[in-house]
Subunit: 533 residues, 2 copies
């Protein structure tokens, strides 16, 4: 028997007879770099158990220790781990503190769901069935993208999502921090970004295509630099890197609303409808200065080795219509204004390189001149044949983001009560079967590699945490499993069979997931302001 | 100089020269019943500082200890405390672990605001200016009422509000768990309460009186028993009692929607408009059985010595129109159907007494027969002359809840951008001047006493945490101060002068309070679905 309901499913699981008894007398044993992992285990166990577990530096004379140890001779993979639950001790072994963190997250899932709560709801010791787990992730990039531009999400919810992502052994939180509909990053030298650019007077209602009207209600918010430092530090403590995305040169209408001089045409307010704006950065010195200033704040605040610069969906119409832009393109020796996109991106990428950061972009960065080969490309357009293969053949490392499997703003089913969503359907079953490196990609693989995959929460139709959680869960589990667990193993042990145990953990955590039977009555979309395409 | 910006202002504060240096090497020293308070201090300091402070049982040989001690010879009041910050040690002394908890909350407010964050945003040790605080609360009941019936609020937000209430040294979280617009408590023997009674298909938009329309969007949710046990346990760990309110016999349309047989007339859906319903419990045996079953769950889940049974705003029209109700009233020997209200309440109160619980009710419980003298009465109708005095003269202990000072669903100002609210205005300044026991009440005080006061967050016009925080803060600080601090001391040191330091703490905690200058653009009410009366 090698089935446990841990999500994502570890690579090797062997059930053993017997059980370990966890109670307040148990000691956590760790030294050196393993100590922070012992504290993580402590901090994660304490609320739901009430235990004040001791942290000791030796297991000499300790009965029933939980030992956390770094041992490169036993675990080679930097995020791999061994987890051994025996009647008289528990061993967590990894090569890094991050690997130990994943062992901690797996260990939590072996305990009763109630231990995930913020306070104990039952007394008595906890039996943990004996088990040997040997595990490592399939991919080094296992992400969750949250769009906080279309709808601002509060810091406390971001911290909650970090906790939930960590439980799924995801290691990247990708924050989409600006878009036509809002700017969320405090940039001290450009203050109007977070005075004018961070809110809109109202928001479109109805599906993306068929606009019904506007709700007449202001929406906005932004993160102060210390808020972001806090999120970054909180995430780091749980093994996650926060990858910031500041998208250019398109998707910048909110920035243009604050600083019209950065654009080609007259002032435009923060966009209140969905879809992407025709209004983009002008190829002027001020826009370059703006980009540099923003990226300097970004690289100061986010230690992430990767910085996302967008690069998708930049309409060229304004540039084509602008004498200034045409003249500028000619001066720069570009074949046409179309290549201004690449020119913008290369300027940003060069600056990031000078800060020892690697750029990431959506797959349209490949167009009209492209980007340097070390740029990581997120391949999202599932309808473009051989997209990932071509991108890798061009030398780029790829994060697989095919919309049909990883865009969790799609409908979850054809249930008539599903709340309004982007007008495509991505079922849990579909995502559970998603392979980030399908056989045909293996065959054509070029110079670049698949770094991993991630889930995407575009929030046009999710205005608050309740709606985000409904769309994210349980599909996030399927993406996390695609990122962590090998394909053969996933086929052998479908997520379906582990779903109930998983959902009981979400219940304990108060996550408002979509039940397998369809939306709860109050999760339905209703007949009012919003409806389906 | 005895001014510090701690909110609520402690009774005695003496600034001393010098400072204590708090860093990761500091040890917390506690024994016996003081140990949980040391853990509370540890758990509250750890996220924002990253410190893993040791908890020791003796300060022998410890440099710079923080000592938490129970000592009845030094502190008499069960919630009082002494807090002494000296260059070489910090002493927290109280008579109870709850009192130590309030010392911990005051100590947190002496530290830089950033230490309240969920992760460190700056390195280095922390200087805490030396100070002696001797403090105790003016009242034993210092509450925050949150209406989770009109709009369901998620468990994670309730836990956050517990944390925020504790920071304000409030000791009661009063949860308004049912109303015409929704039922939130899982009652296993009455399952339809949380299948049918816990959601509504849409919600009225616009002010209380001038209905504009309905939003067409379903709304709902409920708490499982373990969710409530978790909230109760979490609150207890921070010194708060959760007082549940299950209102009868009016404000019960959501229950009637699930079980129409409990009512007098034909089935009614969960109410989608504000205001109170004419549909109330019928004086039938099933309704009594229902009340008993619900109260048995309530007393099982909530250890609170107080249970609130509502008793306000129960229209008698259905009873007057019902031959059954008139007959029943006659059989029961009541002077008229009006007294059925008192009959219902007395049945509940008797049952609660058999479970060693004391009932609490809104001030209308005094009408038409009244309630036993040990029932605590919440006096909220500020327009009824001498209400509290009359209530106390009738022998009741009183919680002062005058709407004009403590109902935080009122407008905060006459600013034209204020979001829609109950059509009265309660400014911060007004609440800051509020005295729960004004001189005229001192003069006429009868057999009962004023137990204290509390803030009220009725949520008709607050559909999510962002809106609740806007209405709650900073006015909650003024109510908390009215509950804790003596009137002379408040007059001498107005809240105004301490507001900036207080708001910087709310910033660190990500609380979206109303700024003193008025709503931020995205906090304004907008021109759409909702507007002022």
């Amino acid at each position: 028997m090698d089935r446990i309901d841990v999500v994502p499913l570890p690579q090797v699981v062997l059930r053993r007879p017997g059980a370990f008894l966890l109670d307040g007398e148990v000691a956590l044993v760790a030294t050196g770099m393993a100590v922070p992992a012992a504290w993580l285990l402590h901090d994660l166990l304490r609320p739901g158990t009430g235990y004040a577990l001791r942290i000791l530096s030796t297991d000499d004379g300790v009965t029933r220790p939980v030992v956390l140890k770094l041992d490169l001779s036993r675990v080679a993979h930097p995020e791999g781990y061994l987890l051994d639950v025996q009647p008289d001790r528990v061993d967590l072994v990894a090569a890094t503190v991050q690997g130990l963190g994943w062992a901690v997250q797996t260990f939590r899932q072996l305990l009763p769901s109630r231990t995930l709560r913020s306070a104990p709801v039952a007394a008595g010791p906890i039996e943990v069935g004996c088990v040997s787990v040997a595990d490592e992730p399939r991919f080094p990039w296992r992400g969750l993208m949250l769009d906080v531009a279309r709808h601002f999400m509060r810091k406390d919810f971001l911290l909650r999502m970090v906790d939930l992502a960590a439980l799924h052994r995801l290691n990247v939180l990708h924050l989409h921090l600006n878009d036509d509909q809002g700017w969320r990053l405090e940039v001290p030298s450009w203050p109007r970004l977070t005075e004018a650019g961070c809110w809109r007077p109202e928001t479109a209602t109805g599906p993306t295509v068929a606009l019904i009207g506007h709700d007449g209600t202001p929406h906005g918010g932004f993160y102060r630099i210390d808020d972001l430092r806090e999120i970054v530090g909180y995430a780091a403590g749980r093994g996650l890197t926060v990858v910031p995305e500041m998208g250019i040169p398109g998707h910048t209408q909110a920035a243009l609303s604050a600083y019209p001089e950065l654009g080609t045409t007259s002032p435009h307010p923060v966009r209140t409808r969905w879809g992407h704006s025709p209004h983009v950065l002008a190829p002027c010195p001020e826009a370059l200065e703006f980009i540099i200033d923003v990226l300097d704040v970004v690289t100061d605040v986010f230690p992430s080795p990767f910085v996302h610069i967008g690069g998708d969906e930049c309409p060229r119409d304004e540039w084509r219509a602008s004498g200034y832009a045409r003249k500028r393109a000619a001066e720069l020796g570009l074949p046409s204004v179309d290549s201004l996109q690449s020119w913008f991106l290369r300027a940003a990428i060069t600056h990031l390189a000078s800060r020892q950061r690697r750029a990431v972009g959506w797959d349209q960065v490949m167009e009209d001149g492209g980007v340097p080969g070390d740029t990581v490309v997120m391949c999202w357009r599932d309808w473009v044949p051989n997209l990932a293969a071509m991108t890798m053949a061009a030398g780029h490392d790829v994060v697989q983001c095919p919309a049909d499997a990883t865009y969790l703003d799609h409908y979850q089913s054809d249930h008539p009560g599903e709340p309004v969503a982007f007008p495509k359907t991505t079922t849990l079953t579909h995502t559970a079967g998603y392979d980030p490196v399908p056989p045909e990609l293996m065959a054509v693989q070029g110079a670049g590699v698949v770094l991993g995959t991630q889930a995407h929460l575009w929030t046009e139709h999710m205005s608050n945490p309740r709606q985000v959680e409904y769309m994210a869960f349980p599909r996030l589990a399927a993406v996390a499993e695609a990122a962590w667990t090998g394909m053969d193993r996933r086929r052998e042990h479908p997520l379906d069979a582990r779903l109930l145990g998983y959902l009981s953990r979400l219940d304990a955590l108060g996550v408002e997931y979509r039940p397998p039977t369809g939306p709860l009555p109050w999760q339905e979309g209703g007949s009012g302001a919003r409806c389906r395409d």
